[in-house]
């Protein structure tokens, strides 16, 4: 089975900190995605990548950036964390024509 691993289950960061969320997949998938999930708003796409060093903005990219230096790793960066970025962050990867495989999620709290 495909495995998508997110480095942290829970994080607490201070306002203004630079935050890195890491995601690793083990099945050589080309497409990887970062979503955030909030009550009442569902899952919203932040960024996605369709190849190494390639990235595209999703629906809510403001305040975020991403990095994909290797095919298996896709990082989400909060340049200067703010309280409105407190959320559950979900990473996913996908093979052609298949549905996503999600990681377990990182619950980030910005104080």
């Amino acid at each position: 089975d495909v495995k998508v691993t997110q480095s942290s289950r829970y994080l607490v960061k201070r306002t203004g900190e630079k935050v890195f969320l890491e995601c690793v997949q083990d099945m050589d998938h080309e497409n990887m995605f970062w979503y955030r999930q909030d009550p009442g708003l569902g899952l919203r796409l932040i960024y996605f990548s369709y190849d190494v060093k390639m990235k595209e903005k999703g629906d809510i990219p403001e305040g975020y950036s991403v990095s994909r230096e290797k095919k298996e790793r896709f990082s989400l960066i909060l340049e200067s964390a703010s309280t409105n970025q407190t959320s559950m962050y979900l990473c996913a990867s996908r093979a052609h024509r298949d549905g996503y495989t999600f990681g377990s999620g990182t619950r980030l709290t910005v104080v």
Binding site: F33, F48, G58, L90, G99, F102, R107
Partner: protein, 116 residues
């Protein structure tokens, strides 16, 4: 803009009481409709993919169906372990008619609680 609406927002059932969850969608060109199950504090777990109207998929007590405007997730004789949030998502063509790198648009989910 692609839109996905799920109903009801929450559903409470007694064990053994069958019911259905609805997912209505508006997309420029449907390339796939996906159902996921999500347990509290965990990432969504893939259940089904449906590609064309009339298609049906089954897994244990779950059956997913698809029409040109909506999908249903039928739950037959549910058990307490079926309690979870069920998410629906669509994959659409991009403006040029290609596949938009597999981006999915999600509904807000239906929270299902099955009481013993």
């Amino acid at each position: 803009e692609d839109q996905v609406t799920q109903s009801p927002e929450a559903l409470r059932l007694q064990e053994g009481e069958s019911s259905s969850l609805n997912c209505s969608y508006t997309v420029s060109g449907l390339r796939g409709l996906f159902w996921y199950r999500q347990d509290p504090g965990k990432g969504p777990e893939f259940l089904f993919t449906l590609y064309s109207a009339g298609e049906e998929k089954e897994k244990e007590r779950l059956k997913a169906t698809l029409t040109k405007k909506e999908s249903f997730l039928h739950i037959t004789a549910p058990k307490p372990e079926d309690s979870a949030t069920y998410l629906c998502a669509v994959k659409a063509t991009d403006n040029a008619g290609g596949t938009s790198y597999g981006k999915l648009t999600f509904g807000q989910g239906t929270i299902l609680t099955v009481h013993p």
